[in-house]
């Protein structure tokens, strides 16, 4: 940069004044600032994470020993339905959109999202969906006191959802909650894509965007084509339940399998909607803590886009046992195995980024390393399950439950914890405690492996998912006990995490702008960033603008 100049933005020392609580509430409720909305998404998702986690703990207590009656069978059905629905729609989606909301404009050097008011609308309608789901405990009774919380399972197969088999309003609350969440997700996805296409700062070409932004764009693209089918299916289910339609009414010629198709056309891409932002976190954290630029940026982008497309053609591997015939089975076996190729490319690129780097084992990096191992194992059991004959044996067993929890907890939640430790200083201006973070890491990782490694075994021994209890002597007792103990370790880890979040907010070490010596634009602005993000709109000339700034003698764009 021969005649490049460096502008110094005025440091914002935010004057903190005590304001009446009502003013603060009003400010947050009426805000259209992408950072505040992002934070509300994250806090809201964390609250639901605790609720969904407690539901899981109750289920594990119920299953810890044979012939247990800790809760009733009806309550157990509600627990696994609410756990699944909560975790996917009201934890996974909002927390990732929260990070996306907070980080995407900062990373591309924009001052806000493309449509700030739509952004607020999307958040509030998703939040309302979550409240509606839990309001079912009060409002699900219906006229004859026949319902409570939804109890049809998180994929709610027909005809169980028909009015005859699911009287009361429980299923209606489930439908409406998901419909609202879907509208919110589509709105946010629209916002993220539009922001990325239209609001990039000068010089931020698509080929220079941080990989996290790329992955949020791909995930949002999947939202358009995958969440909409679920919305359509929910409209059909509502028509069936309220207007007497016959879409999924097997008595009138309707098809239960059609619901399965519609649900999984959403359901499988949903996994990628959740995991791609997690890849994004890892893409940002691993290079910074290896002190190297990410290996194979173009291959990473291509693999992400490839995953996006292939993810739309794998849904029926959830349905090998319905009897689709050899042609259908073969296609979906093949498509499912193909998707492991771009995923493998990513794993190798992360390893190559680590290779020869000066690895710094801070807490965010530890979570990312754990992510690499756990995601690999999750992928391997995924390949096992993608083989139709193997799948016929283990479909709807605890092996499947263990597999997808390995993806959701072992990969997504683990990467998410890394992201919390990495970006917390930017959001609050204070560092999270490293020692508490290590407690969190080890307790959680030990708990995770106790629970989900050993959960594969009862599945192989034939234990079906969603059973209320089981009799002694089947060889499942010890495994279930270990799984339950692991859950307690995870709870202890989460307690450390929550305590760390709260404590660091008040007592954490002051972070400064750039505690990790990182390279993307969000670290160029004060922590926490002012409402307008950047005092001067930045201009970038490489993928690592802050590296260029700190190393004028060896700038990145000479090599790109």
């Amino acid at each position: 940069m021969a005649n490049g100049t460096v502008l110094e933005a005025v440091d914002q020392t935010l004057e903190v004044k005590r304001r009446p609580p009502l003013d603060v509430v009003y400010e947050w409720v009426s805000t259209v600032d992408h950072k505040k909305i992002g934070l509300m998404y994250i806090v809201y998702a964390l609250i639901f994470l605790v609720i969904g986690g407690l539901e899981a703990v109750v289920m594990r207590i119920q299953l810890a020993v044979p012939n247990n009656h800790f809760v009733s069978p009806q309550v157990f059905n509600r627990l696994f339905t609410m756990h699944g629905t909560t975790m996917v729609f009201f934890v996974g989606m909002p927390i990732l959109f929260g990070f996306g909301n907070y980080l995407v404009p900062l990373m591309i050097g924009a001052r806000d999202m493309a449509f700030p008011r739509l952004n607020a609308f999307s958040f509030w309608i998703s939040a309302f969906g979550g409240f509606l789901l839990y309001f079912s405990y009060l409002g699900g009774d219906g006229l004859y006191g026949m319902g409570s919380a939804p109890d049809v399972g998180w994929f709610a197969y027909a005809p169980l959802t028909a009015k005859v088999f699911s009287p009361g309003h429980s299923t209606d609350y489930w439908t409406l909650a998901i419909l609202l969440s879907g509208i919110g997700s589509t709105g946010t996805a629209l916002n993220i894509v539009t922001t990325t296409i239209c609001m990039r700062c000068k010089g931020m070409k698509l080929s220079r965007m941080p990989l996290f932004v790329w992955l949020m764009v791909v995930a949002s693209g999947i939202v358009f084509v995958a969440v909409s089918p679920l919305t359509a299916a929910q409209i059909m289910l509502t028509i069936d339940r309220y207007l007497g339609g016959h879409f999924f009414d097997t008595q009138a010629g309707g098809s239960a399998v059609l619901w399965m198709h519609f649900f999984w056309i959403f359901g499988h891409p949903e996994v990628y909607i959740l995991v791609l932002p997690a890849f994004g976190f890892v893409n940002e954290i691993i290079p910074v803590f290896s002190r190297k630029a990410v290996f194979g940026y173009p291959a990473m982008v291509a693999a992400s886009v490839g995953i996006g497309f292939i993810s739309l053609s794998v849904w029926a591997h959830h349905m090998f046992t319905v009897g689709m015939g050899p042609a259908g089975n073969t296609f979906f076996v093949f498509a499912t195995m193909v998707i492991s190729v771009p995923t493998g490319i990513k794993i190798f690129n992360w390893l190559a980024t680590l290779w020869g780097g000066k690895i710094i084992f801070k807490v965010p990096m530890m979570f990312c390393i754990a992510f690499l191992f756990q995601f690999l194992v999750a992928g391997l059991t995924g390949i096992m399950l993608s083989a139709a004959p193997f799948n016929w044996q283990l479909s709807a067993s605890y092996f499947v439950v263990a597999h997808f929890h390995y993806v959701l907890v072992g990969a997504i939640v683990t990467a998410l914890f890394g992201a919390f430790y990495y970006w917390y200083p930017k959001v609050t201006g204070r560092m999270m405690s490293e020692s508490l973070g290590k407690w969190h890491f080890w307790l959680f990782i030990i708990g995770f492996h106790l629970t989900f490694d050993f959960m594969h075994v009862p599945g192989l021994l034939g234990m079906p998912r969603r059973i209320y209890t089981y009799e002694a002597g089947r060889g499942w007792e010890w495994w279930n006990l270990i799984v339950g103990i692991g859950a307690l370790f995870q709870v202890a880890g989460i307690l450390c995490f929550v305590y760390n979040l709260v404590r660091s907010y008040f007592r954490g070490e002051i972070a400064g702008h750039d505690p990790w010596d990182a390279w993307t634009l969000e670290w160029a602005t004060p922590s926490p960033p002012p409402a307008y993000n950047f005092a001067v709109e930045p201009t970038v000339s490489s993928r690592r603008p802050l590296w260029d700034l700190k190393h004028p003698e060896d700038q990145d764009f000479n090599y790109e």
């Binding site: 940069m1 021969a2 005649n3 490049g4 460096v6 502008l7 110094e8 005025v10 493309a114 449509f115 589509t186 996805a189 629209l190 916002n191 894509v193 539009t194 296409i197 239209c198 990039r200 000068k202 010089g203 358009f224 084509v225 995958a226 969440v227 909409s228 089918p229 359509a232 409209i235 059909m236 028509i239 069936d240 207007l243 007497g244 339609g245 879409f247 009138a252 010629g253 309707g254 098809s255 059609l258 519609f262 056309i265 702008h513 750039d514 505690p515 010596d517 634009l521 160029a524 602005t525 004060p526 005092a535 001067v536 930045p538 201009t539 970038v540 000339s541 603008p545 260029d548 700034l549």
Partner: protein, 201 residues
């Protein structure tokens, strides 16, 4: 690395003028993509259930080709396009005329749908709960009609603003965003027409 001021690099040799697409149009394209997926699922359900009804009436017995409605809706794409291009040339009168024509044609389409439904419900007793044909027909055509109603409402708002003289040349892009939505609703009708009235009969 603790810094007290934030430093942002400014590259003096900025590349050729930095121009990004308009967010209204990109946002509308995203919405259209998402909406297409919703319609696709309803169309798939319709096709899947063709001939699966366990009782009558069947499409061949009761459906007539909605020729008038189709002609009106398809020609409204031209009138809305005319409104946008007139506004671009700062021809406010032409824009108002185009909008009025579009609203009128859209309203005629809705009236033909209303008449068709009245006929089906009143004369043939076909409701959404009669059989699979009724369920899928009213859902798909109704979903499309809902979009037409939304479009006509927004176009009417634009027409009212235009009549009160508040639409200026600078609003051409906003009107274009609305016209994109209207073209999409039109395009969906072509699919619905082919599936319901040609393939389905």
């Amino acid at each position: 690395m603790m810094q007290t001021t934030s430093t942002i690099p400014i590259d003096a040799q900025v590349e050729p003028p930095w121009k990004l697409p308009s967010r209204g149009i990109v946002g509308m394209m995203c919405l259209i993509l998402a909406e297409s997926a919703i319609f696709l699922i309803f169309v798939v359900a319709y096709i899947y259930y063709i001939g699966k009804s366990l009782s009558g009436p069947l499409p061949a017995q009761v459906l007539d080709l909605p020729i008038l409605g189709t002609i009106c809706l398809l020609s409204s794409s031209f009138t809305v396009h005319h409104a946008v291009s007139a506004l671009r040339k700062n021809n406010i009168g032409g824009c108002t005329l185009g909008l009025a024509g579009t609203v009128l044609l859209g309203a005629i389409f809705l009236m033909t749908t209303a008449r068709e439904w009245y006929h089906l419900i009143h004369d043939f007793g076909l409701t959404i709960r009669t059989n699979l044909f009724g369920t899928t027909f009213y859902s798909l055509v109704g979903l499309h009609a809902t979009h037409v109603v939304i479009g006509v409402t927004m176009l009417t708002a634009a027409l009212a603003l235009s009549l009160s003289g508040r639409v200026k040349e600078k609003h051409a892009e906003r009107l274009e965003v609305l016209s994109l939505y209207w073209h999409f609703v039109d395009g969906v009708w072509v699919v619905v027409f082919l599936v319901v009235y040609v393939l389905g009969r």
